[in-house]
Every structure is written in C-alpha cells, then in structure tokens.
Amino acid sequence: MSRALIIGPRDALARSVDALYALQLLHIVDHRQGEEDLEIGKPLPAATEASEVLVKLRSIANVLQVEEPKATATGIAGPESPGEDMKAKIRALELNISEQDASKKKIQGLVADLNRRVEEITPFAQLPLSLEDYRGYDSLEVFTGKTSRDIMGLETVTPEFESFAVPGFLVVFVAKEHAGRMRDFLAQSGFTSVAVPEGREPPREILSNLLAEGERWEKRLGEIEETLKTLRERYAGFLTAARAHLETEVEKAEAPLRFAVTDHTFIVEGWIPREAFEKAKADLEKIDGVFVSEIEAKTQEEHEESKAEPEPPVLLRNPKPIKPFEMLVNMFGTPSYHEIDPTIVLAIAFPMMFGIMVGDAGYGILWVAYGLWLLKRWKNRPWDFWKNLLVAFIWGGFWATIFGTFVFAEAFGVPFHMPASATSLAAQFNWSDNILHLNIPIHPILEKLDQVPDFIIMAISVAALHLGIGFIIGFLDDIRHSVKHALGKLGWLSVLIGLYVVLIVRAARWSLVNGAVPWGTAIWNGPLVWFPRAGMPLPSAGFAAANPVPYVAIGMIVGGIVLVIATEGFLHLMEVFGLMANVISYARLAGIGVAEEAVIFALNVIVLNALVINQSTPMIILGAVLMGACNFLIFLLSTISGTIQSIRLNYVEFFVKFYKGSGTLFRPFGVKAKSEV
C-alpha cells in the first residue's frame, strides 16, 4: 500500500470526487475536525437535494414494499437518464403515494372503529329488545354484560327479576332494592359489565347499517390497495435504480466530509495499492491544479514507535480457487498489514479436516458434483457468504473423496471390501462382492470402526502438523519485529514436538489389532525413526524398558518451557497444559469420523437385514430407497458437524497460536460495502 496525499483547488473538488469514485482505488483515511488545524470539508451542494429526494424515495419504497436492492461488489448502474427528470418524477410520485397512503390509513382507522361498534351491538341484536328498553327506569336496575359461562341460580338472590341470555351474554332486570346483592352475585360468577350502546333504533337495524357501511369502506380500501399494487408493479424497477443512483450521488456529495480543507484547497489522505499508484496519479492529475504525492512509508521500527499512526488497510490477494477462504479468515478477523495472511493454510487445513471427518468417497463425490453444479447455476451471483462457503464445501468434498477412497476405502457407509471383523451377513455387505462384483484394488489403510485408537493417533498427528505450522507462521511473523517473541514461538514448537513424540511412544505400546501394526508403532518406526531412542523407562505410566520416554523428547519439552518462560513470562507455564488440551482436542477428527460411520453402518445393517437379504424384488427396491434416505440424513449430519468442528479447530486451536487478525479491510472509495453475514 502507498500512502497518498491528494491536494487540489476547491473548485476542482466535485470533479476530483467523481474521478476518485470512478477509480475505485483509494481507501480514504477520514480527516478529523481540527486535526492539524484543518477543518473538514462541507458536503457538495448536491448533497442536500439528493438526500432529501432519497428520503422521499425510501418512504415511497416503504409504502410500496419494494425490496431493498442487494448490494453488489461493483455498485449498481444508475438509470439511463437521471438528473432533474428523475427527481421531479420521484417528487410527483411521493405526492401521489402519500395521499393514497394517508387515505388508506384513515380508512383502516374507520374500519377498525366500525368493527368495534359491530362487536358491541351484536349481542344486543340477538335479544328481542330495543335499545330504549334498557334505559330510563326508576325502580329497576339493568345489568348488561359478558359472561364467561352460563350463570345459574339468579333466583337464589331474589325472585323479583327478569333475565335474557344468549351464549356469552346476559341481561338482568332487577328491582332497585335487590340491585346491590345481584351485582355482588354476578361479579362472583364471572360477569363483566358492558355499557348499552347509544341509539334509538332496534339494535338489529343498527347492526345491519354498520355492516353495510363497513363493507363500503372495505371495498374502498381494496381499491386503494389495488392502486398501490399497480404503482408498485410499474415503478419497482425505477425505484430500485433511482435509489442506487441517489445513494451513489449522496456518497459522492458527502465525501468532502472526510477531507481536510482550507479556504482555497482540499486535501485527501488515503491508501492506494502500490502498483496502481502511478495510474491513479496520472488519472487524477488530469484535473487542473490537482496534485498527488506519495508520503514516505514508515519502516517497521518507526511504525512500532508511533502507535498513533494508522495501519494501512489490507487487500488480500489469493489465487482464485482459494479466494473464498478469505471469507472464513475475515470472519475471525482481517489480517493486519504486518501479518502473514493465513488463508492458504486454512484453505488446505479446513477442507482436509472436513474430509477426514466425513471420510466417505460417496459423500465426497456428491459434494463435489452438487457443488460444481450449483456454482455453475450461481455464476452471476455476487460472492456472498453462501457462495464462498460452497467453494469450501467443494474442496471439503474433494478431500473427503481422497480420504474415503484411499484411507478408509468406503462409500455411502459401505466398505469396498468385507471388513475382517464382520460376522453377520449384513455387516459383510461390501462394494466388491455384493454390488459391483469386481475386485476394487484399494484396501483400507484404516478401518474406522475397528481401529479407533489408530484413528486417534492419526488425528493427533494432524494436530502436531497443524499446530506446528501455526507456530512456524507465528515465528515468521514475530522475527520481523521482535526476536524475543519469535524465540517464544520456537519454544512452543519444541514443547509441541516433544509432547507429540511422548504420545507416539506411549501409543506404540498399544496392543495389536487383528494382527496389524498399530499406527503408533508404524509412525514411531517410520516417519519418526530418526528420533534418538535412548530414554528413561517409566513403568507406572506405561513406558516399559522396551519403549522408554526418549531423553531428547523430555529435553525438548523442558527446554521449550524454559524458553517460553524466559521470553513470554512465568504465567505462560499454564499454557503448556492448554497446548496439551489443544492436541488432544484434535481427537474429535476421529470421534466424529467414527460416530458417523457407526450410525450409517448401523442403519445400513438394519435395512439390509430387514428388507434386502433373502427378500423379494419389491422389498429390495424399498430397502434401497430407505438406505438412500438414511445416507442422505448422514450426509447432511456429517456436513454440518464436519464444518463446525473443522472451523473450530482452525479458529480456536490454530489461529490462537499466532494470528491476531486486527487489520482493516481495504475498502476503496466507490466500491459499495459488501454485506457480510
């Protein structure tokens, strides 16, 4: 990034803003009021009018319920001939629509009022009395009200009464001297008093009048809504385009608020990608009087000293196939300008771990095929959260296919070959003998259900590799500004390797499964064969004389801890246990892998036993359909847990080791902000 300073005369301000907007190259650093004794600029004259029209437009869009347009990366093209014409059109439209909207609201109020009155009068209309009959007695008290249930035993209060009842409503006429007791009785029986409506006409007549009136207004309301709908259909496109255009105009017009100004000049400060600087300079200096200069970028040490100095924004540049993983990195935090972008490691580790957990060629191929198909369909869709995630899934599917084929040798929960431990006919079901009737030349390196300890060893090896890379990146990050911190990272790496070797040595003693060599032994005698073996037996912890804890491993752990304490402080001693927990945490790769395999295996065996083996053809077809459904369920489940667990390992275990993610994303003026999840 180059730090650019653009200076020009104030009368060239509008043209400069236009040029900057079109360039889409400058990440503006906002000027603060009074900083270096310079005021901020005032919005261009166009701003007031444009914002006013924009407010009107938003209110119209709200009334018409026109959807907010989706922001795209490059901004939306305005209508063909904007300008005064468009603004006048919006004003006229606003007048028309606000009138319609006002009458709509008024009628809605009227209708609500009518409905309330209808509700009031309805029970009276069911009784054979006119409204006059409820009023004007000297010796009688009238109770009218709602009842929650039928009220019995009015005669227990007094025999001198008369009552009329319809379900949920009761009218009682009672002599004045008994009124008090009657009121108490009614109150206890769940009676709520209702006032008698005004009017002289028979309630039935009032009701029908009200209903007729209500109908008339409803009809009018329908007409207005129809009008609004027509308006929406006619103007939706115009409104969306006009809004995009106006938003651009407002953004441009308000840009001077981010500039510094003097009486006759304006000054813009910002960042331009280094290689685009010359082009930007040439373009901007075409405007009379505008001058672009590059501020000397500060060196690392100077930067460390002046903390107040703003960090340059970060523009991530990754090859296209792994670019979608930037989204996952940014979700955690944008890398700062002085940090190594971890996208490439994430782009390998995330789908790979997903692949280990799903570990099934069938599901893998399904994801690759479905993902590529969907990607083709989404060709014109902007690169939003889902599209980026889809690419991550395609990579995940790719790795799941690789692991499912060459390591676990299974597809859709059915192994390529008969598992050695299988006893029942259903458990023996496999691709080679029962489905394809040919001998697939690939045998499993690891059978999930029979070799769980081996699977865990594999997961822990992934942990050592993954965390090791994390510490190395951390070392490379730190060496540039602090050798001390870099040494701390080396200390951690040393602890990690020592820890891993101890775990492998211990696991190498695990008993043999089906006569095969356990993975612990295989790794100890294979990739780790160079490691010095001399060591200390520790029988109580399982380290016999045959496989003692190597001195070198103990040395690496102790030496690493000493280095960590020396460089990072005594408190970080606790973190050693944290690191141990982190390493064991990777066992989830095995845990999820085994769990999913166990579920799909169980489902397959149940269906095979019940519907397929020794059954008639229709039953076999039904069984196949059911197996498909079960597989689909596990396919979804394994995708969800695979994604969440894999992202967690990368965020919590991996990133925390070295990654700060405190940067700001490069957002050049003129590029619409992308909406992120």
């Binding site: 979700m331 955690f332 769980v452 300890p453 865990i456 695990w510 008993s511 399982g542 927990a581 064991i584 945490s585 066992a587 989830r588 845990g591 969440i644 667990q645 992202i647 967690r648 965020y651 919590v652 992120e676 999840v677």
Partner: protein, 78 residues
Amino acid sequence: MAVTGDLAQAAIAIGAALTILGTGLATAWAEKVIGAASVGALAEKPELFGRVLPLVVIPETIIIFGLVIAFLMLGTLP
C-alpha cells in the same frame, strides 16, 4: 496390560461408560449456557456469528477427552 476376571472387566466397561456419560453431560450443560447467551448476542448483532460459533463449540473438547479416556480404558480389556 490385560485385565482378567469378569468383575474387573465389567468395572472397566462401566467406568468407560461413566466417562462418556459424565463428559457428555458436562459438555451439554456448558453448551447450553453459552448457546443461550450466544443466541441473545446474535439477536442484537447478527454479524457476530463468526465469533460466536467457535465459542459455542469450545466445550466439545470435554467430551473428546472423555472419548479418548474411554478408549484408553477399553484398550485394557482383552
């Protein structure tokens, strides 16, 4: 180190089951608390999703430990 005797073997198997039970419950309880708080936070600020998701699944390490220990215990059975 294989363990002999029916009772001893049964005790190991039950011990492994209890390990899974206890760590499973612990994970569920921890995630319940974090999950409820996270949903509250997300209702206010949906853009926190990326930060919240790893927090919710952090306690899952507990049951992973349980799983590993259970397998180590089962490994001592003949």
